[in-house]
Amino acid sequence: MREEMDSGKSKKMVFVTVGTTCFDALVKAVDSPQVRHELWSKGYTHLVIQMGRGSHFPSKFSGEDGSLAVDYFTFSPSIADYLKSASLIISHAGSGSIFETLRLGKPLIVVVNEDLMDNHQRELAEELADKKHLFCASPQTLHQIINGMNLDSLVPYPPGDSVPVAKLINSFFSFPDN
């Protein structure tokens, strides 16, 4: 059953997450009229921002006037429910967030935090973007990526398996496999 909005659009939620980090640049980018407009044009009706330890508080919008409804919170013990009900996820480049989202088969835009030292997170985001499992953006290019994205071009991520590593350790001790 699809929830109908006044505008005749069914509910489609975009969930933004920064995990346990502080990523004001992303929160600000999502909070901008540009990005909100792009999301609305693409058919999204709700934007929920998990802002973590950031100091920039986004503006809330009720969406009653036929625009994107925006809400935010800082932390939640588990964001799994938000991920499951979202139609699009925009996430910081932490591997935990990335793989939790990919396992659910949800479209994902990963935004790399350029302020982090060494920034090894970029490697993972770029590798997965190369393989078309997700889109990669910076806070500055986010609205362009949303504008140009084609969700059908995404390739499902084949889930990993920790059993081969366990078997490797097992065989080191000549333990029989379970």
Binding site: T20, S95, F99, H120, Q121, L124, G160, V165, A166
Partner: protein
């Protein structure tokens, strides 16, 4: 007589030092050669130290522990940094669910915290002091637990522990087999922890999760991605 001793004493000391260094070198060579060699006779079970780290590290580590044979890798000791509150909780949840499934055994898992060498953003001067404390704490842990297996995947907390364990190997106090699984987030370059352990040959098995890394570091193993 005394003159002769005085003349000979420094030479005697030098000789002793040379002998000790040679013995250590021989022992070190033996340890490095034996490292990485599988056990022909399986031990009944092996005490296992599992090093947890913030964020993705713990998630990856627990996904490995989840599929390990719990009777063979027992008892289990989980170690996290003193400032990390979430990781041990997650490990406790896993161990409790094992008990509920009836897969637990009499020896309960233990959970402990270790001092960090350096907090994010800490000045490098004070880091020297805290690193020394961390190393001392690590030596204490290894001395107390003497794990037969150490599994880690990259957080800074694992370096003092792996170095301490390796020292114990050389000294002959306990042979700890060290398994390092580089985080899935490392695609083209190793983490600092990984690089140190790889270059110093401190691990028995060094696992990477991307084929590019395996090509770059040929002594590593690639068995797919775990996430």
């Amino acid at each position: 007589m005394e003159e002769y001793l005085e003349a000979g004493f420094p030479k005697l000391v030098a000789l002793l030092v040379a002998i000790i260094i040679s013995l250590i070198a021989i022992r070190l060579t033996y340890v490095l050669l034996r490292c990485g060699k599988p056990f022909v006779v399986p031990p009944e079970r092996v005490s296992t130290m599992i090093v947890l780290g913030s964020g993705g590290h713990t998630a990856e580590m627990l996904s490995i522990v989840n599929v390990l044979n719990k009777e063979r890798f027992s008892p289990r000791f989980y170690v996290a940094a003193a400032t990390d509150n979430m990781s041990l909780q997650k490990a406790q949840v896993l161990e409790q669910s094992l008990l509920h499934q009836g897969k637990g055994n009499a020896e309960a898992a233990q959970f402990m915290q270790i001092y960090r060498s350096r907090e994010v953003g800490q000045s490098y001067i004070t880091s020297i002091g805290t690193s020394l404390i961390a190393i001392a704490h690590a030596i204490w842990f290894i001395l107390k637990i003497r794990p037969q297996v150490i599994i880690c995947n990259g957080p800074g907390t694992c370096i003092p522990l792996c170095v301490a364990a390796f020292m114990f190997k050389v000294v002959g106090l306990r042979w700890s087999s060290i398994f390092y699984i580089e985080s899935i987030a490392r695609v083209r370059k190793l983490s600092l922890s990984g690089l140190l352990l790889y270059k110093l040959h401190l691990t028995d098995q060094f696992v990477v999760q991307w084929p590019q890394l395996q090509s770059k570091y040929p002594q590593s193993q690639y068995v797919g991605r775990i996430m």
